[in-house]
């Protein structure tokens, strides 16, 4: 299933610690159109739980989180 996921915007935040990945995502989401799908690539373990918390609170949709060997892809769709 995860191979079929496609994103409109990919944010490579690998190597950045908290809160870098989330800040990058928020910045991009703010200026995007509704329905835009983002792939946030992060190697920060905290983002795996922190990003979904923000997504839910902000009213967007967490599509899926895919674990790779040394990073995660968190797919988010803007409401």
């Amino acid at each position: 299933m995860s191979e079929q996921l496609t994103a409109d915007v990919t944010i490579d935040a690998r190597g950045a610690g908290c809160p870098g990945p989330l800040m990058d995502l928020i910045g991009k989401v703010k200026t995007a159109d509704s329905g835009t799908v983002f792939e946030l690539q992060t190697s920060d373990r905290g983002s795996v739980s922190d990003v979904p918390e923000w997504v839910e609170k902000a009213g967007h949709e967490l599509v899926e989180t895919v674990e790779h060997e040394d990073y995660w892809s968190i797919y988010v769709q803007k409401a």
């Binding site: 950045a16 809160p19 800040m23 928020i26 609170k57």
Partner: protein
């Protein structure tokens, strides 16, 4: 909830970094944040201190400043980014500046101005206060 009023009175690198992270995510999420930097908290914002990284740190702070694997933005950069993304304002404490013998120009360019205690209390009146 009308936002947060962060009082940064410490010069400890880790505590200021924590305040910058929490405040930044709040502001980026459109939650109003006012940051009042006072007492020893002002010193780490001085140009020379930032340039030389002459911070008061513990082990975690050292790790954050020297890590080659994980990029951790300096608290000044974090505050700067947050001010561009959301409703965040930073104020330096007038009394502490006078005690330090400093002007606003002596600090990194992220402050919106200086405030006395009455000014801060006015801004904090409708917010949850977090003291660091």
């Amino acid at each position: 909830m009308n936002g947060y009023a962060l009082v940064v009175a410490t010069d400890e690198f880790e505590k200021i970094t924590a305040a910058s992270i929490i405040g930044s995510i709040a502001a980026a999420s459109d939650i109003p944040v006012d940051v009042f930097v006072t007492m020893n908290g002002l010193r780490p914002f001085e140009h020379e201190v930032v340039e030389t990284r002459d911070f008061t740190t513990g082990p975690l702070g050292e790790a954050m400043l020297t890590s080659e694997e994980t990029e951790v933005p300096l608290f000044t950069e974090q505050f700067r980014d947050a001010r561009e993304m959301g409703p965040m304002n930073l104020y330096a404490c007038t009394m502490a500046m006078e005690m330090w013998g400093r002007e606003l120009d002596d600090y990194v360019d992220i402050f919106d101005g200086e405030l006395g205690v009455s000014g801060f209390l006015t801004k904090a009146s409708d917010k949850q206060v977090i003291f660091v």
